[in-house]
């Protein structure tokens, strides 16, 4: 090898390999059996490739493979993450190939969550710097390798589209021809990053990489995994939470053509057949007697009575500013309580998991937001060490937090242990709705005083389940405070001199609770922004003017509010029973102001007319995906505000499918205008931002249209019907 001055003091290749391993960086070989139909799902391998970090692999032909540490569930990360990596790498974006990251907490843990998970709208926020550094370091190594070969100063070289060029001598060389030399160089620890003004990819509305296959039926979701000799299963868990199987009469089920096997576990019964139809008919033919257990009498009324009682007690103080008692003694005091129901996720792709369990191996095919947890719990269920469990990541047909759980994998492995060969376990929609892990019920108790048209004191107590205490106790639940449950309450955007935010952990009996698109802010933004409108009215102020007067400390949000006021036609006359409502929020590090315009008809039915949002989400990596996420997120939130509620009777969920767990449909969707503001701040989160913005803005539009202050979701049409007005 030709040595330049630069490389004279470089460590040997062997030393580099050792130090890379010590630093936790890749070179681990990962070679599970390849699935029959998974052209996109081949495992990540560094063999024969330049792999200076966990995210980038370049082979001798120049083929550049990017390993995705976050999963694609519609939010566009399989485009945004490649854009960030390719930007700093100066790779040819049209030719990059993607791979899913295998379960590996060391390499792929989400820096903001501390575990390998996709959620909390933080894929771009959390990986922004690490990905840029990975791209920049790799690019620096390739440029140095080229400069060495040409014996020129690396600074005199440029890179673009996977080619290094030395303009002065007219030479250029592709990345593929540099991989061996680059691999011998040390990985720079603090490579210079591009000045954003030099970005060529970031900031452009580039086409998504995942959508062509989704338009012709060739994209493979977890539910589409197909393996030679595979059988198909569907299952029933006890309809009462926590209940067990008492007795199963499978005579009729076994007589169903195509049924192979009935698997009876302590809490679940599954039917295995030649196809889902046989499995489903078999399940319908089973006579199962359940031991319903201690939860058989629980109903929503009990759960709400418990929560209301709990919310009256003092909570743990999560934030305190100024002198609350003094503030509450000033001016006129107002009190209100806001309540939010249980919600199911209802991802379009029902829960499913395909497994092949043998005495010494377990292979799992799934689309999951938490692949390492799936691996851990599959190993536990299979009774095998972690390294015997292979998990194949797939596209997700919706996540929304539901796929941050691993229950569907755990039960599939327990079933698969008793099945010879691979089995795909698919839940019916009814099972999916009735055995979800639900968005908790919440109750928020607020007291505030007004003085000179501004809020002098604010006491806010959120009561509800702690999802963090179960899901991420280390880091998420500290000293009795769930950091998610108080998110967007402790950091509410308004300048209020005296305030206190409290949390009461109140776990509902029996009903499992989890993250749901919008997480804690869903609850807090609704309560805060609803009460802001009520206070504005008490103060005799326009809702936007009232907010603007308390946003001096939050200029980004204030600018978004001003823009949405202009773009929404705020203040322009409207017909009777039509109103505009506003919501502002700094949640997920995005600053968004939203106006919903809605009509309330004489029957109390609510019709969405128009939605306008203005958002400062920092550097917009892909502005078109940001617009799409807000359009969709707003609809997700508005759907819940209009109809979303899971109720419990006799320990069972009463809703079962889309006929009684209602979704917004195309004929009910209003015009949605999204204005993405120019910003040079680091990127904010966007996947959940619309979901939290829609409900309070709608609620406030109804308030403006009717004068009725709804304090609970979903909206109560009876309360809004003209006949009910005094």
């Amino acid at each position: 090898m030709h040595r330049s001055e630069n490389s004279a003091s470089l460590p040997s290749r062997r030393a580099v390999l050792k130090s890379s391993l010590a630093a936790g960086f890749t070179l681990a070989f990962y070679l599970p059996v390849r699935a029959a139909n998974e052209p996109e799902q081949t495992p990540d391998t560094t063999a024969g490739q330049f792999a200076p970090n966990a995210f980038i692999r370049i082979d001798h032909t120049g083929k550049t493979t990017l390993v995705m540490p976050q999963v694609e569930m519609g939010q566009g990360v399989y485009t945004a993450i490649p854009m960030i990596l390719a930007e700093e790498l100066d790779a040819d974006f049209s030719k990059v190939e993607l791979k899913n990251a295998p379960p590996n907490e060391k390499l792929y843990a989400n820096p903001m969550l501390g575990v390998q998970a996709t959620g909390n709208s933080n894929s771009v926020r959390a990986f922004w710097k690490p990905l840029r550094q990975a791209g920049a370091a790799t690019r620096a190594m390739l440029m140095q390798a080229a400069a060495q070969q040409w014996q020129v100063d690396p600074a005199s070289c440029t890179a673009a589209n996977s080619v290094v060029t030395h303009a002065a001598s007219g030479r250029s060389i592709g990345y593929g021809d540099l991989v061996d030399a680059a691999a011998a160089l040390p990985v720079p620890q603090d490579p210079p990053l591009k000045n954003p003004k030099d970005f060529t990819l970031i900031g452009k509305p580039l086409k998504r990489l995942d959508t062509p296959k989704k338009s012709n039926g060739s994209a493979i979701y977890g539910i589409d995994a197909m393996l030679p000799g595979m059988k198909f299963a569907t299952l029933a868990a006890c309809p009462v939470f926590g209940g067990k199987v008492a007795k199963v009469d499978d005579t009729a089920a076994k007589a169903v053509p195509g049924v192979h096997q009935i698997v009876v576990l302590d809490d679940v019964v599954a039917v295995v057949g030649d196809h889902m139809w046989a499995a489903k008919k078999g399940l319908d033919a089973l006579k199962i007697t359940w031991d319903e257990g201690p939860n058989a009498k629980i109903s929503s009324a009990d759960i709400w009575a418990d929560l209301r009682a709990a919310s009256k007690k003092d909570g743990v103080v999560a934030k305190s500013v100024g002198d609350l008692a003094k503030g509450l003694a000033q001016g006129e005091r107002f009190d209100a309580e806001y309540e939010l129901p249980f919600l199911a996720h209802a991802t379009m792709e029902p829960m499913n998991c395909t497994v092949h369990v043998t005495p010494d191996s377990c292979e799992v095919w799934i689309g999951t937001q938490t692949i390492s947890r799936v691996q851990q719990y599959a190993a536990k269920a299979a009774g095998l060490p972690l390294e015997k469990v292979t998990v194949h990541q797939h596209l997700l047909g919706g996540g929304f937090g539901r796929r941050l759980e691993w229950d569907m994998a755990e039960s599939a492995v327990r079933i698969g242990k008793q099945v010879d060969g691979p089995v795909k376990v698919v839940w019916t929609r009814e099972e999916d709705v009735q055995h979800d892990i639900y968005r908790p019920v919440y109750r928020n108790v607020i007291s505030a005083t007004l003085s000179d048209g501004k809020i002098a004191a604010w006491k806010y107590r959120v009561s509800g389940s702690s999802v963090m205490a179960r899901w991420l106790p280390a880091g998420g639940y500290k000293n009795g405070i769930d950091i998610d449950a108080v998110d967007s309450a402790v950091d509410m955007p308004y300048d209020i001199p005296n305030k206190q935010i409290e949390y009461v952990r109140a776990e509902p009996p029996a009903v499992p609770t989890g993250f749901w698109r919008g997480v804690g802010p869903n609850n807090n933004v609704f309560a805060v922004e609803s009460f802001m409108d009520e206070l504005a009215r008490k103060a005799g102020k326009d809702p936007i003017d009232f907010r603007r007067g308390m946003l001096d400390g939050n200029p980004r949000l204030k600018a978004a509010l001003d823009l949405v006021a202009e773009k929404s036609g705020w203040g322009q006359p409207l017909p009777a029973r039509v109103g505009r409502g506003v919501c502002v929020q700094p949640s997920f590090a995005s600053f968004i102001a939203t106006v919903v315009e809605a009509e309330v008809d004489e029957h109390g039915e609510v019709h969405l007319r128009r939605v306008t949002s203005a958002v400062d989400t920092g550097i917009a990596v892909n502005p078109d995906i940001i617009v799409a996420q807000l359009q969709g997120g707003l609809i997700f939130g508005l759907t819940a505000a209009l109809w979303g509620e899971i109720t419990i009777e006799n320990g069972r969920v009463q809703q079962s499918n889309f006929n009684d767990y209602r979704m917004l449909r195309i004929d009910e969707v209003p015009t949605i205008d999204i204005h993405v503001m120019k910003s040079s701040e680091d990127p904010g989160g966007i996947g959940e931002t619309g979901a939290t913005a829609g409900p309070p803005a709608l609620r406030n539009a109804i308030y403006a249209a009717t004068g009725i202050a709804l304090r609970r979701l979903p909206i109560d049409r009876k309360a809004l019907a003209l006949a009910n007005k005094a």
């Binding site: 998504r208 196809h275 047909g397 359009q631 449909r665």
Partner: protein, 151 residues
């Protein structure tokens, strides 16, 4: 044995007559582009064409189809209308998670085949049976109009 004409090809398989077409496509023939969403014709994810008409395959007994032509998402791109719908879908980046989009595209292609210049009300009528949890409805409407301009 049952024989069906699917995407212009003759496919023979063994399945009971009451088995819904959805499961024949997915589990017997391995054509997984058609999706299972609800099983009760409430969401439209399983939409296919039978002689060009949009039908929810989750409730369609395979024994009732006879020699009618079945078109699925894997084959709709071979029709001029289907290809234009798919192109409009990509031009406007309609798709997010994509799970419902096979059904959305099939419903939209059937609409445009019968109503080449649909009004908003036509779109509402033809597409209201297709649920999208990602909320891509605004772009679905635009893409249908885009495709109509090019059909």
């Amino acid at each position: 044995m049952t024989t069906l004409n699917i995407n212009g090809e003759s496919k023979t398989f063994d399945a009971p007559d009451d088995m819904p077409l959805l499961w024949v496509l997915r589990d017997v023939l391995g054509m997984t582009g058609t999706k299972f969403g609800c099983g009760i014709a409430q969401c439209g994810a399983c939409t296919v064409h039978i002689d060009g008409n949009p039908v929810r395959s989750c409730l369609l007994p395979v024994g009732s189809i006879g020699n009618k032509a079945v078109t699925t998402i894997e084959g709709v791109g071979a029709t001029p209308v289907g290809a234009k719908v798919q192109k409009a879908w990509l031009d406007l980046e309609v798709i997010q998670c994509g799970y419902c989009q096979s059904g959305q595209i099939m419903s939209a292609a059937a609409l445009l085949a019968s109503t080449p210049q649909p009004e908003d009300a036509d779109i509402d009528l033809a597409m209201a049976g297709n649920i999208c949890r990602c909320g891509t409805y605004v772009r679905i409407r635009e893409a249908i109009k885009r495709a109509a301009g090019e059909v």
